[in-house]
């Protein structure tokens, strides 16, 4: 079996069917027809075995992750995802692996109405680069900049779960039963907050997705906005599974520093507190602090070191 048959078999027609796809996989390039007047939002992320996920991660989870990391970026902009292109690099053709990878990607794509319109399969070290395009009414994008002193700081879901799931997978943390399953699932099959991002148009003053750790990503949002922030660790929404597995002392640290959550971290004027609290977009949001003047990010009153703002550095590991 050669690469072309591989592409044809596993990636042709994957994801959702969309009327705006004029020409899918199979020619020199794909053609789509964006709705007139829409802005186009484009994200590209690479995930590399051993850097972004442990070697040996189930293929279905790798396929899911290749799309999820981009879907989370699109969600953080408040955009509606539409079309994806995949670059998959494999050390060898393993049909079972590719089938499972394709299933993980396909399931997540269909759930969000995304058509897979192109791809390239090559031989090399295991890695996947995906480009995701989304659509947005002009001028409605959520940005990292825009936070104002006095705004509330919110986070969706229960950050820290994914970091605990990774620690369990790597044998650095012990957990059993439902807590174990839930935390593993949160690392392996994260659910980007697309509906929440769309619902936050016109409400959030700034937004970022939590991929490198809540504290570090908050530092980036503040740097872009020219503000500081004050958050309280006791306000962090910790899942019962995280508290059970990591213990009440260690859990807030995982929620602050752990990566791979793919939750949304956003700010909104205090006057919109009721509206944000009332949102029903598939996930609960919790108020964890306040935007302040200056440049410091304070956790329980203590400043984070400046370089904590980069979270997990893929070149430092």
């Amino acid at each position: 079996m050669d690469e072309f048959e591989l592409i044809d078999r596993w990636f042709t027609g994957r994801g959702a069917t969309r009327a705006d796809v004029r020409l899918p996989v199979g020619d020199d390039a794909a053609i789509v027809a964006p709705p007139p007047g829409a802005e186009l939002v484009l994200a590209l992320d690479t995930i590399v075995a051993g850097t972004h996920f442990p070697a040996g991660t189930p293929a279905r989870a790798v396929g899911h992750r290749a799309l999820a990391v981009n879907l989370s970026d699109i969600a953080a902009m408040g955009a509606e995802p539409a079309w994806a292109l995949l670059g998959l690099t494999l050390p060898a053709v393993d049909e079972d692996w590719v089938a499972e990878f394709s299933r993980g990607l396909d399931e997540l794509a269909r759930r969000h109405g995304i058509a897979l319109i192109g791809g390239d399969t090559t031989r090399g070290a295991l890695a996947a680069t995906l480009t995701l395009a989304g659509l947005l009414p002009p001028g409605t994008a959520l940005r990292r900049r825009g936070a104002q002193a006095g705004d509330d700081i919110w986070v969706s879901g229960t950050p820290g779960d994914a970091a605990a799931g990774l620690a369990i997978l790597q044998g650095r943390l012990q957990a059993a039963g439902e807590a174990r399953e839930r935390l593993l699932q949160r690392f392996l099959l994260p659910e980007p907050r697309v509906a929440l991002g769309i619902a936050l148009r016109g409400l959030a003053s700034a937004c970022i997705d939590v991929s490198d750790g809540l504290a570090g990503d908050l530092g980036k949002l503040c740097a872009a906005s020219g503000t500081g922030a004050r958050i309280e660790s006791r306000a962090l929404p910790l899942s019962p599974a995280l508290v059970e597995a990591a213990g009440p002392e260690a859990a807030p640290g995982l929620a602050l520093a752990g990566g791979d959550d793919y939750e949304l971290l956003f700010t909104a004027p205090a006057g919109l507190r009721g509206a944000v609290g009332a949102l029903t977009a598939g996930v609960e949001c919790r108020r964890i602090g306040t935007v302040i003047a200056g440049r410091e990010v304070l956790v329980d009153g203590a400043a984070l070191p400046r370089d904590a703002g980069h979270g997990f550095d893929h070149f430092a590991g």
Copy 2:
């Protein structure tokens, strides 16, 4: 230096400046505003060290190639390139290497009015995945399908040069002086035929770019069109440099089977022969054969084996 500073320094603001870029590199995703009514053409290709270019290829040539392979796909559709996103994977941060890679990409992007609007730099085996988006008036795309029996078959430029350049680089072929320089250049810094692709709208009945070898790519065009083809090796446009380096006996074989040319191979009705021959789009086009009924691709009357249609198979090497 960490990956974020690397991205900021080398890829922010690269390529052309375009008024339709609403938000470039630096947030969770980029935002662009396509012109109303335009179709969007999207291509993604990965190049891997050791598979698509020899390890040790100059960084500037790798940066050029990452864009050129996609630019050639966009050219083959007759589209106008607009925006690019880059996923670059590196074993380590080597500033000089990244600077030269960025220069190669930037030079080619500027020449074609392409803005680099996003990217992701990660640690891993050397590879680059680029997504290129282009624009097209609705319904004007050049496709692989559409060739009709009786159409002329045309190719741009002088195919085979790049394969000879690669052979020289790898020590499999000897050449000196100007011929050597020209063939190396053709492999290292191929020039996609963007202006020709746009000029062929309304003239070509089918089109493909020559990336895997002329004969193999002609096989793909024929398979998509449901036709056969008859070409004459004596009609192939061979460069003096290729004939000098490879000799008159071996040169046609390199032109037929060698990859990485990034020329356009297209068909057009015989009635448009004068119009196609008169095109001035930066490169000469040569008529090399005729589309025929059936499914066979005949070179000098002999059928190519069916599996020649795949050209160079990245998984077979």
